[in-house]
């Protein structure tokens, strides 16, 4: 028991740190590596939670997470990245220092929101803070990088944060919903990858700053 809760704490930390690191990177491969690490940590955290509570449903979800998020999705993104060979890094619209400060600011904001929402309840706001911060950082990452592929990865990071929320806050959603969400993510990433191909074909770039003909 003791051993499992230590692992769970460590995994929570790894998930938060790998989310934080993404605001510093601009190379696609580094961001992808962050995602892989985060998904792996998420799978392990789910598995240990399943062991701690003796729920076989969480263990199954952990294996599915491992296969879908740590193997299938990164492989598909690798495939997409190899086909759009034009560039390997995103143009940042803000500096690294600013990104780091903003991420810290978002963490603080999440803490304020979480403590206010849970004010007067005998619950620690840590878990809610972590989830909110990860969602906001994912959003920030998407807004400061205009590449289609990094936007796609931003969605993946936000989705990981939601899976963490389902695990830590809701103690696991019903199996059919967890699997449904996983299926949505998988289909979504496939659809986005196909769109990225076509955008590359038609526009000769995947910089979304060029996607600006429709206005008003």
């Amino acid at each position: 028991m003791e051993y499992y809760s230590i692992v769970a704490t460590w995994m929570g930390t790894i998930i938060l740190i790998s989310g934080f690191l993404t605001v510093l990177f601009r190379r696609f491969w580094n961001i992808l590596a962050c995602y892989r690490v985060q998904s792996l940590a998420l799978a392990i955290a789910t598995w240990t939670a399943g062991r701690m509570t003796g729920s076989s449903h969480l263990e199954i979800i952990a294996y599915v997470t491992l296969i879908v998020k740590a193997i299938l999705i990164p492989a598909w993104i690798r495939h997409v990245l190899k086909r759009i060979t034009t560039r390997t890094e995103a143009r940042l619209t803000v500096g690294v220092a600013f990104s780091l400060f903003s991420a810290a600011g978002l963490l603080l904001l999440s803490h304020v929101v979480a403590s206010r929402a849970l004010y007067g309840l005998r619950v620690s706001p840590e878990a809610l803070t972590e989830v909110l911060a990860l969602v906001l950082i994912g959003l920030f990452q998407m807004m400061t990088r205009r590449e289609a592929v990094t936007q796609m990865m931003g969605i993946l990071f936000i989705e990981n944060a939601l899976t963490l929320a389902a695990l830590q806050l809701a103690k696991g959603l019903p199996m059919i919903i967890e699997l449904g969400i996983m299926l949505d993510v998988l289909i979504g990433i496939l659809a986005m990858g196909i769109l990225v191909y076509r955008i590359q074909e038609q526009f000769d770039t995947t910089d979304t700053a060029h996607l600006s003909t429709l206005q008003g």
Binding site: R116, L128, L132, L162, A170, I177, Q202
Partner: protein, 520 residues
């Protein structure tokens, strides 16, 4: 019946993805359309008229509210499937005849019939969403529609369509993640107050009084922003005019007439939990704010549009805003008006998008100044279009006139005078904008058109290419299907005033009673 409907549509969509001759695709579309009207129709009839709950496999169920939204889906969906059949036949004929001008040939290797498969999946996801007794499952289905419809929008590989599809999938997915977080917070609220965690809206409403209100408020805010993005509430609507205008006509019709309603449905379900917790005032102010801002944005942007389908998209934002206002005012009268508004808007908007698609095809352009005098150039489409637009603008015989008046009346009754006054002004602006554009497009005099003809007759440069007879027949058959779909929708729009009469109005009042504030 619910199980039959779901199973049949699953099989049809599976078969539609197989590469097959166009005859088979047409047959599937026709069968699916008849199934939707037959099975779906009797299903919603038993739910709405007899008040029977329907359930399937333990996770799906339909009450009056779900039945009402499903009824709109069934009516519109069947007609749209007929239109898809027509589009497939025309595309097949065009590919055979290499008539590139009428229908640009696609570069991709995806067979055209895949668009039928995607349309069926799209409908299926919405049916599952409307009939789930679980907010998480509703979310999964609504998010699923994002992926499917994004592929439909980007189906033609054109630059503008790809841009629209990309913005749509990114913004809606991010928006919906917020609402999933909100739903997880609902479970969390149950968890920390020691109740059995659940995502069943009825069960949560039952638990609601003992849940912590601060967590509930944060959860509802996230749900409202998330599903509100997908419902096209201003200022979260920036993807909507792009996506709805760039999609192929049948997809536009489904996006505007059905999918927006599904998101509103999810919001109403969550609002029920909030009201049960005594937080109805927060729900109302949120809905009022989004509703008013949407009507404001849409009315102003309607006026300045040049693109026909963008104008229709802004009109959708206006009407979704009005529906949201009706729920936000929160009296039985306003909710009744919002429901009447939902049905009539969906039917008229589907007709508007299908006929606009025909007009775009005739004019080879989305630009309204290039499609003047459509009554002469494509009479059937122009007639359908003017019928739809008078319905949408709210000219007296059509129920939107009544529901808009009822909304203003309900706003005054609820003591929101400023809202009633500004609403009247905005409605007048939107009315003028819609009718101005409609009259111009339908009756306008097109100098280019005459000039074009003279030029062609005089010099003979742009003579129509010879079309083989078989191709012409096939194209004719596509045209018949497309015209049929418009005719069916036109009949439905003509029948809408009946909604205000006794049996139908009673049924809608019973639906309103399910929505917080709607009961007498």
């Amino acid at each position: 019946m619910l199980t039959t409907l779901i199973t049949a549509l699953t099989i049809f969509s599976g078969v539609a993805f197989l590469p097959a001759p166009v005859v088979l695709s047409t047959a599937i579309a026709l069968l699916a359309s008849l199934t939707l009207w037959g099975v779906g129709g009797s299903l919603v009839w038993s739910v709405l008229v007899n008040g029977q709950m329907q359930s399937a496999w333990g996770i799906f169920y339909l009450d009056r509210l779900g039945g009402f939204f499903l009824a709109v889906l069934v009516l519109v969906g069947g007609a749209v499937l007929l239109n898809v059949a027509g589009q497939l036949r025309t595309a097949a004929a065009t590919e055979a005849g290499h008539d590139a001008a009428a229908f640009p040939k696609r570069a991709g290797e995806v067979p055209m019939s895949a668009s039928l498969g995607l349309t069926l999946l799209f409908l299926l996801a919405m049916i599952l969403g409307l009939s789930s007794r679980n907010l998480g499952l509703i979310w999964v289905c609504v998010e699923g529609t994002t992926m499917i419809s994004a592929l439909l929008i980007g189906f033609e590989h054109q630059r503008a369509a790809l841009e629209a599809a990309w913005k749509y999938i990114i913004l809606c997915t991010v928006g919906l993640s917020f609402s999933l977080l909100g739903l997880i917070l609902l479970v969390y609220a149950a968890e920390i107050s020691g109740a059995v965690p659940t995502l069943d809206p009825v069960g949560l409403a039952f638990l609601a009084p003992q849940l912590p209100p601060t967590v509930l408020k944060l959860a509802f805010l996230l749900v409202l922003v998330g599903f509100g993005t997908k419902a096209g509430f201003a200022p979260l609507h920036s993807w909507l005019p792009d996506a709805h205008s760039q999609a192929p006509a049948p997809t536009s019709a489904l996006l505007s007439a059905v999918l927006l309603n599904c998101s509103v449905y999810a919001i109403i379900r969550t609002a029920g939990i909030m009201s049960a917790a005594g937080l109805g005032a927060d729900v109302r102010s949120g809905m009022l704010l989004f509703g008013f801002v949407s009507v404001l944005f849409a009315a102003l942007f309607l006026l300045v549009q040049h693109d026909l389908k963008r104008m229709l998209a802004y009109s959708s934002i206006e009407h979704i805003g009005l529906i949201s206002l009706g729920i936000g005012i929160g009296t039985p009268l306003s909710i009744f008006a919002a429901l009447i508004h939902t049905v009539t808007h969906s039917l008229a908007k589907a007709l508007a998008f299908l006929s606009a698609g025909e007009m775009v095809r005739t004019a080879h352009s989305h630009d309204m100044s290039r499609m003047l005098g459509m009554l002469r150039r494509r009479p059937a489409a122009a007639t359908g279009f003017s019928l739809a637009m008078t319905g949408l603008a709210g000219l007296p015989p059509w129920p939107i006139f009544a529901s808009e008046l009822l909304l203003v009346w309900a706003a005054i009754g609820a003591g929101r005078l400023w809202l009633a006054m500004s609403l009247l002004l905005l409605l007048a602006i939107a009315f003028t904008g819609l009718l101005y554009h409609t009259v111009r497009v339908v009756y306008g005099d097109d100098p280019h058109h005459h000039h074009h003809h003279q030029h062609k007759d005089g010099l003979g440069h742009q003579a129509e290419p010879e079309i083989p007879e078989t191709v012409a027949t096939k194209r004719e058959s596509g045209l018949i299907w497309r015209d049929l779909s418009m005719a069916v929708l036109a009949l439905m729009v003509i029948a809408t005033p009946l909604l205000l009469l006794s049996p139908a109005a009673e049924t809608i009042r019973a639906v309103a009673a399910v929505i917080p504030g709607g009961g007498l």
